[in-house]
C-alpha cells in the first residue's frame, strides 16, 4: 500500500458524474428483483453508485482488496434524488488511521445537482483494510 500521511489529507478523487437515469434505475430494480418494469422507484441507497470515487482512491493507494471490509455507510439527504437528475460527486479521503491491525479509511462524498448546484446528499463510508505490511500512518 502507498498510504498518504494524515497531514496530507484530505485526498480528493476526480469529480464523477452519474445520472438518476431509467437505465440505472432498471439495473437496481433487477438486482432487487422488482417485478414492475415501469417503476420509477429510486432506491434510498441509489448513491451506492457514488462509491466509484472511493474505489478510485483505494486503487491509487494500491490497497489489497482481499482484506477490505465496508464497515459503515451513511447517507444524509439534504434534498431527494429525482428521476433524470444529473449529479456530480465530489469524493475525499478525510481520515486514515491504523488501529487493531486494520487501516481505517474515512471517506466523504458530496452529491451535487449538476444543473442547480444544490447539494443533494452527503455520503460517508468507513472502509477497513487489513494491515499486511506493518506499515503505519
Amino acid at each position: 500500500m502507498n498510504l498518504p500521511s494524515r497531514e496530507s489529507l484530505p485526498l480528493k478523487a476526480l469529480p464523477q458524474k452519474l445520472s438518476v437515469s431509467s437505465d440505472n434505475l432498471k439495473k437496481f430494480h433487477k438486482a432487487f428483483q422488482l417485478g414492475d418494469p415501469t417503476s420509477n422507484w429510486i432506491p434510498p441507497t441509489f448513491a451506492a453508485l457514488a462509491l466509484q470515487g472511493v474505489f478510485s482512491i483505494l486503487n491509487s493507494l494500491k490497497v489489497d482488496w482481499h482484506g477490505l471490509l465496508h464497515a459503515t455507510q451513511s447517507f444524509e439527504f439534504h434534498h431527494p434524488l429525482r428521476p433524470h437528475d444529473a449529479i456530480v460527486v465530489e469524493t475525499e479521503l478525510t481520515d486514515l488511521r491504523l488501529r487493531a491491525g486494520m487501516h481505517w479509511f474515512n471517506f466523504k462524498m458530496e452529491l451535487i445537482n449538476e444543473k442547480s448546484g444544490q447539494k443533494i446528499l452527503t455520503s460517508k463510508s468507513l472502509i477497513m483494510v487489513k494491515d499486511r505490511t506493518g506499515q503505519s500512518v
Binding site: 433487477k30 474505489f55 482488496w65 482481499h66 439527504f77 431527494p80
Partner: protein, 120 residues
C-alpha cells in the same frame, strides 16, 4: 407510521445472479463479489454479497412498508456479518421512536448482518 417493532419482511435466498446484477447496478465490481477463486483466496467459500446490497435490501423493506426515498432524512448502516450465497435474509423492525426507525437485517442463522437507523 404503521410499522411496529417486530414487523418483518423476508427476502428470497441471495443468488450468484443477484450479486452479479448488483455489481452491474452499483458499478462495484470488486472481484470478491464476482470471482470465486479471488473470494477463496480472501478466506471465503465462494463469492460474497456487497455490503451495499445488504443495505439496499433494508431500503427495499422501506419501500414495502411504503416509505420512499423522498421521506428519508438520513440512513445509516453498520455492517456486521458477511452475506454468502444462499443466505436467506429478513429485515426486522427493532425500534420505532417517533420518526426514527431501527431495522436489523438477519440471516437464516439469526445472525445480525447489518443494523440500520433511518430518520424520516
Amino acid at each position: 407510521m404503521t410499522i411496529k417493532v417486530g414487523d418483518e419482511i423476508q427476502f428470497p435466498p441471495v443468488t450468484r445472479d443477484q450479486i452479479a446484477d448488483y455489481a452491474d447496478a452499483s458499478g462495484d465490481r470488486n472481484p470478491i463479489h464476482l470471482d470465486a477463486d479471488f473470494a477463496k483466496a480472501a478466506g471465503f467459500s465462494d463469492v460474497i454479497a456487497h455490503g451495499m446490497l445488504s443495505m439496499g435490501l433494508v431500503g427495499l423493506a422501506l419501500k414495502k412498508w411504503n416509505i420512499e426515498q423522498l421521506q428519508i432524512k438520513s440512513f445509516e448502516t453498520k455492517f456486521k456479518e458477511v452475506v454468502n450465497l444462499g443466505d436467506s435474509l429478513r429485515v426486522r423492525v427493532s425500534k420505532v421512536i417517533e420518526t426514527q426507525l431501527e431495522l436489523d437485517l438477519i440471516n437464516q442463522s439469526n445472525q445480525l448482518v447489518c443494523s440500520s437507523r433511518i430518520c424520516l
